[in-house]
């Protein structure tokens, strides 16, 4: 190619090419606008999300519960207590009560006694510091049609003048603490597992919020914190357990944990205590003299969706 032609080609290229300098200027402009806008939107939020820097870092780098040393767990408990004090002004006690040896919990619900009062639902909300604003409820009572066990025909939102209604029976559903739980299997980070006393627990500081467990659960037992759970300071239950009802954050999944803060100390779960009809029977499956064993051995019990192989620890029966 002759020199002139080369030069012409080059100048043509230069005209159509936008120089690197202009591009960098443009990117810089966009970048600064983005940064300013981001700063404006985040300026109102407290730095470190309302925690001290030390607590924020401690929270972030915390290991999974089963891998933490006892000292680390103590630190984590103290952090939770401090955060709760900062956020709600309430002095809570966060414990790490270990499982009682020789105990595996089981639960039975008498569906001929359940009248659909929903006392259990709200007792659970109070006991477990469930977010009032985020509308979290661990227990759902289904109003079933007499003559069928078809869940699709059930009504979740029944609201008659009085219960029980004619031609219906009532079946509360909550986490079944499956022995072969699909949720434990599905979690990619092992944030949920089954404890030796049979309770399937969640480490709320480890959960990444992918909701794989919620797809896997056949009982709609797992619930997600779509927003930050809020509850008034006077309604906070200060007796908490790390794996149970201690304050949780948005973006993590939670569920019924058989009131681990109570049951590991020998107390009944809040729902069992609340039921005025004695429809809920709770106890130690390994104790041959327990009420739950009597029910399982003498009543016509069934488990929900047993055919999926989940081995739930919650039975239903009628008498």
């Amino acid at each position: 190619m002759s020199n002139t032609k080369k030069k012409k080609a080059q100048s043509a290229d230069r005209e159509t090419d936008i120089s690197r300098r202009t591009f960098v200027k443009g990117v810089g402009a966009i970048g600064s606008v983005t940064a300013a806008a981001a700063a404006a939107t985040t300026a109102s939020a407290a730095s470190w999300g309302g925690q001290t820097m030390q607590d924020a870092f401690g929270d972030f780098f915390q290991d999974q519960y089963q891998k933490m040393t006892p000292a680390e767990i103590e630190q984590a408990l103290a952090r939770i207590e401090r955060n709760a004090k900062r956020k709600t002004g309430v002095d809570i006690k966060c414990e790490n009560t270990p499982p009682i040896p020789g105990v595996v919990f089981g639960y039975a619900i008498n569906i001929s006694k359940c009248k659909g009062y929903r006392d259990c639902v709200y007792a659970c909300v109070k006991e477990n510091n469930l977010g009032r604003d985020s509308q979290m409820q661990y227990i759902r009572v289904l109003e079933m049609e007499q003559g069928t066990r078809n869940l699709e025909k059930s009504d979740h939102y029944y609201d008659p003048e009085t219960v029980p209604q004619e031609g219906k029976y009532y079946m509360p559903v909550q986490c079944m603490q499956c022995d072969n739980s699909p949720c434990v299997k599905a979690c990619p980070v092992e944030a949920t597992w089954m404890e030796p006393d049979g309770i399937v627990v969640i480490d709320y500081n480890w959960c990444i919020g992918c909701r794989m467990c919620m797809s896997a659960c056949p009982y709609w037992a797992r619930h997600f914190n779509w927003t930050e759970p809020e509850l008034p300071a006077e309604e906070v239950n200060p007796n908490t357990h790390y794996l149970g009802n201690r304050p949780r954050m948005r973006g993590v999944t939670e569920k019924c944990h058989f009131c681990i803060q109570r049951t590991r100390k020998g107390r009944l779960p809040a729902c069992a205590e609340a039921c005025p009809n004695g429809a809920r029977i709770f106890g130690n499956l390994l104790d041959p003299n327990s009420e739950i064993r009597y029910v399982l051995e003498n009543k016509d019990v069934f488990r929900l969706k047993e055919e999926l192989g989940t081995e739930p620890k919650m039975w239903y029966f009628s008498d």
Binding site: V27, A38, A216, G251
Partner: protein
């Protein structure tokens, strides 16, 4: 690395990388217009995502009842696109199609972009994305081999790295005017072919492993995913190659398009066959098993937001397959492009929202509760698509420059060669 020698090669690599980056910043007015558009779309998504990070996923339309929505729908779809890149690798190297070998690098660029898009959709779907490091083995705690999501993380990251390595290896060799000869390279390629199938099968398993969800718990889901990926992937590749053919100096041979169109046709036929099989199985002796499909196609309890979408998707796919089955039309670029658009959109609907959302309706306790994406979700999704297009644009720019010889390694003039 057996195919690189020492410091001299490192210098060449460095020059190559500089050249690549420089190439990305060089372009016509149209190119820059396109880049700025993409950056603008990404910026608006950043705002929406910031809002989501601050308030939580409550800004989306998801609920406890329908806990996966638009994000995971797109994730499933784009993993399929990524897997379809293998459709270029197989004919190029197994069947020694020289014309397809031309576009292999572009296909791999698309795979990389698609994997990035898929991973970004998963990360935006997380409730606590800052805790994503929990899934890294040893650093965090990966539930391997039980959790299918853990498998998915591994295979997607692996596929991403595989494609990145292969693509840049070949590009680097082309940059030096050489062809890949090493045996190890062939091994990588074969691994890549199987890996591509595996990423999409594992994604399918992520859904079909749940016995609680009757619509997904079928052995057919894996084959459905692969067949729809092999229909929508080539559709996108054909459209993209068309754009490259018209907008750049890189000319694509018609035979490449014809081969891709043929693969797309067969895959779409199989995909529609699977849809038909699904409809028969669910409706012939209808029990509760078919409740989700009934919701999708006919509505349930008076609710049926997805009905118009799925029927549109089905009709689009049927029109597309008809066009594709008529040889003269398939060979006509206008008709082919129309079929590609219909296929792509149809499968995006059917495999995305048309699969993920009905899996949750009715819920495992029989409740029918609907879902529709909010503007925040759409805004973030548009931004992530823009990221994918940006990544592909930049990679394609480099590939084209290298293939056309514009970006070439110039041997430094040696003292002895200069003469005197």
């Amino acid at each position: 690395m057996v195919f690189l020698r020492l410091s001299g090669d490192v210098r060449v690599l460095f020059q190559f990388l500089i050249g690549v980056i420089r190439e990305m910043f060089r372009g016509s007015r149209r190119y820059w217009g396109w880049i700025f558009l993409l950056v603008a779309l990404i910026t608006q998504a950043v705002f929406s995502y910031t809002r989501q990070m601050q308030t939580g996923l409550v800004v989306t339309g998801m609920s406890d009842q329908v806990s996966w929505g638009f994000y995971i729908s797109n994730f499933a779809f784009f993993v399929g696109i990524a897997a379809a890149a293998v459709l270029l690798v197989v004919p190029a190297y197994i069947f020694h199609r020289k014309d397809i070998k031309q576009v292999v690098l572009l296909g791999e660029g698309m795979a990389i972009a698609a994997v990035i898009v898929a991973l970004m959709f998963v990360i935006t779907d997380l409730g606590r994305p800052e805790r994503i490091w929990h899934v890294i083995p040893y650093l965090g705690r990966m539930n391997f081999p039980d959790s299918i999501l853990a498998w998915d993380t591994i295979v997607l990251m692996g596929y991403f790295l595989l494609n990145l390595v292969i693509m840049f290896y070949v590009l680097f060799l082309h940059y030096r005017d050489r062809e890949p000869e090493s045996r190890l390279y062939s091994v990588f390629l074969v691994i890549g072919m199987f890996w591509a199938i595996s990423i999409h099968t594992v994604t399918a398993f992520m859904f079909s492993s749940n016995p609680s969800r009757a619509m997904w718990h079928t052995s057919l889901l894996g084959p459905r995913f692969i067949s729809s990926a092999f229909a929508s992937g080539p559709a996108l590749i054909i459209m993209t190659l068309g754009v490259i053919h018209n907008a750049t100096r890189y000319q694509i041979s018609k035979t490449v398009i014809d081969s891709l169109a043929l693969i797309m046709t067969i895959a779409l036929q199989i995909s529609l066959f699977f849809v038909g099989v699904e409809l028969f199985t669910d409706f012939y002796n209808e029990g509760q098993h078919g409740a989700s499909v009934r919701y999708l196609f006919l509505g349930l309890e008076g609710l049926g937001k997805l009905r118009p979408w799925i029927w549109a998707a089905l009709i689009m796919n049927l029109i597309a397959v008809t066009i594709l089955m008529i040889h003269p039309l398939r060979r006509n670029m206008k008709w082919l492009n129309a079929a590609c658009v219909l296929t792509f959109l149809g499968i995006w609907i059917e495999k995305g929202m048309g699969l993920v959302v009905p899996g949750f309706i009715p819920t495992t306790l029989g409740e029918v509760f609907e879902y529709s994406p909010t503007s925040t979700e759409l805004s973030i999704a548009v931004g992530i698509w823009a990221v994918g297009m940006l990544v592909f644009t930049l990679l394609a720019k480099t590939v084209i420059a290298v293939e056309l010889g514009e970006l070439k390694y110039k041997e430094p003039v040696r003292y002895t060669q200069r003469g005197f």
